[in-house]
């Protein structure tokens, strides 16, 4: 799981030959409204893929479509077999875990209870649950100090750490994050992105939806740029040298 797409020739945008996640012709609708035009989307083993674009570009919809939270067209396969549609619980059971926009933490519950819910599909295996919890605390020591605290009473950054920690409790095979930096101070955001880098370097494929492109591009192996519900470009982050160049993509 450590072989990233770095072996591909420089210049062309390297697309992994043996993707873990592959969407073909994936599209999404909210009722009558097409929110995402058909696109291909792949994530290779150990890759961190950024999905960039302005507000309303369809970034969140792409994640929701992968999970089957919205009505979709096309096909999504994960680790060689296709993912069920309109059954997000079953998708989660395959190890495709989403950290939703706005974090979706359970505010009235304690940090410990939130983490416990993260390992829902583990059932009653207390030892494994504790092992996973220990791993989360290694990444986010602050969560350990706040175990008994109501999750809703923590700072935005801590809540985001909890949201990621809770997702890790599910022992994901791939982690999807919807704008984890939203509403966070730049320093806190850097901290969280750094942690994602650590996770990714340990072999976990990550899909990172971000509006703040520069920080996401620092981590990403590849980036998909969405605009108005369509795929505008696939970018090799090493080729993006300047803000201007990125702006060109945005407004192209």
């Amino acid at each position: 799981m450590t072989a990233a797409a770095s072996g591909a020739p420089a210049g062309a945008v390297p697309v992994p030959a043996d993707p873990v996640l592959a969407a073909r012709g994936l599209s999404a609708r909210y009722g009558e409204v097409q929110a995402l035009a058909p696109l291909d989307f792949v994530v290779g083993p150990g890759e961190l893929v950024a999905v960039l674009g302005p507000n309303g570009a369809g970034k969140s919809t792409l994640l929701r479509a992968i999970l089957g939270l919205v009505a979709t067209g096309g096909e999504v396969s994960f680790m060689g077999s296709s993912l069920p549609r309109r059954n997000p619980a079953a998708v989660a059971n395959r190890g495709v875990v989403l950290v939703p926009e706005g974090r979706g933490i359970f505010g009235p519950m304690t940090v410990a209870e939130n983490l416990e819910l993260g390992s829902w599909r583990l059932g009653r295996d207390a030892r494994e649950r504790q092992r996973r919890m220990g791993r989360v605390f290694e990444l986010f020591p602050r969560l350990k100090e706040r175990l008994g605290q109501a999750a809703g009473s923590m700072s935005g950054g801590e809540q985001q750490m909890l949201a990621i920690g809770r997702a890790l409790m599910a022992d994901p095979k791939i982690l999807l994050l919807d704008e984890p930096s939203l509403g966070l101070a730049p320093r806190v955001m850097e901290e969280i992105l750094e942690t994602l880098g650590v996770l990714n370097r340990a072999g976990l494929p990550v899909v990172l939806v971000e509006q703040r492109a520069p920080s996401a591009l620092k981590l990403a192996h590849r980036a998909y740029l969405l605009s108005l519900g369509r795929l505008a470009a696939v970018i090799d982050p090493r080729e993006v040298q300047s803000h201007d160049q990125l702006a060109q993509y945005y407004f192209a």
Partner: protein
């Protein structure tokens, strides 16, 4: 911070999942108040005993409603339907078919669960207000059936002469015996709700209450657990309906009207939605409150209404929440 993760020692495990620290007073106070009200009724007997008896039956009903609305954060306007099914099953089977109260109660429970399954399975996949409308409809439909199916329900006339519950040959019919039996039912109900709340099932409910999408993303089957929550609420509603007809000896469609729904909502919010003690203290206080304003005569309803509004302003999380707030304020 994360590029050099601090080493967490083995001794850091196991990590107990501790609930949020809550004061002892907050946990005990609602039960003390409830015990005082029931104790007073036990001593006084007569009318106070009747009022408190009804309140205890409502406590069972509202505790069930609380599982669905409080723990799972769904809305149902139709729980009266399941109380009606349980109540009518008990009344009809014991008066017209000479069943014992227990088998009649179980039959009512089964019928209520079947009805809840039939309405819940298709509608619980829907979100928010669709579900509410569907539940409102079933409440009205069951009420209508109770009125129109005269050959069985005797329509508006109602069924009278329902025998009291007897336990091992002892007929529970005196004020005090009824109060003691109902108190036992309420305690058992509260214990069951507390157990459910802290169980894996309760965690699933809480997850759904927090965010359905987030719960789904964690692999929780939202539709299934909503249905389980709905069935549990219906079960308690059915039991309370059966208790009612045996205690009062009479049933009519009016008993399970929309008024019951409104009253139970009031009890749930006044007591404290989502808490174990809330429905119990809410049922008691909302039942007793109008009586304490009896001396206001014409202004009784006005005073009652004003008291409710004040309660909801100063205790927005209900009486159970109020005790908790007072308790935390006491501490440094």
């Amino acid at each position: 911070m994360t590029s050099s993760p601090s080493t967490i020692l083995r001794k850091a495990f196991p990590v107990p999942a501790q609930p949020a620290p809550r004061g002892r007073l907050a946990a005990v106070a609602p039960w003390l108040v409830a015990a005082c009200i029931v104790g007073y009724a036990l001593v006084a007997g007569g009318y106070p005993a009747t009022v408190v008896g009804f309140a205890l039956i409502y406590a069972v009903f509202v505790s069930g409603l609380n599982i669905f609305m409080g723990l799972t954060a769904q809305v149902s306007f139709g729980q009266s339907a399941f109380a009606a099914i349980g109540g009518y099953a008990s009344a009809i089977l014991t008066t017209q078919h000479e069943w014992g109260w227990l088998p009649a109660m179980v039959a009512g429970l089964a019928a209520a669960l079947a009805a809840a399954l039939a309405i819940g399975y298709p509608t619980l996949r829907l979100k928010g207000h669709y579900l509410s409308m569907a539940t409102l409809a079933i409440g009205l439909i069951v009420h209508e059936i109770a009125v129109e199916w005269e050959s069985v329900t005797l329509g508006y006339l109602g069924i009278s002469g329902v025998p009291p519950i007897d336990i091992a040959g002892y007929e529970v019919s005196s004020d005090r015996a009824v109060l003691i039996m109902l108190s036992a039912c309420v305690v058992a109900t509260a214990l069951a709700v507390a157990r459910i709340r802290s169980s894996r099932l309760g965690r699933a409910f809480a997850g759904i209450a927090g965010s359905e999408d987030a719960a789904r993303a964690l692999g929780i089957n939202v539709a299934r657990y909503k249905l389980v929550s709905f069935l549990l609420a219906a079960a308690f509603a059915s039991l309370s309906g059966s208790l009612f007809v045996h205690v009062v000896g009479y049933v009519s469609p009016e008993v399970f009207s929309l008024h019951m729904v409104i009253l139970s909502f009031t009890m749930l919010y006044v007591g404290g939605i989502g808490t174990v003690a809330g429905p119990v203290i809410g049922a008691l206080v909302v039942s007793v409150l109008p009586e304490t304003f009896r001396s206001f005569r014409d202004y009784q309803d006005l005073a009652y209404g004003a008291a409710l509004i004040l309660l909801l302003i100063y205790a927005p999380r209900g009486l159970a929440g109020l005790f908790a707030a007072l308790d935390t304020r006491r501490k440094p």
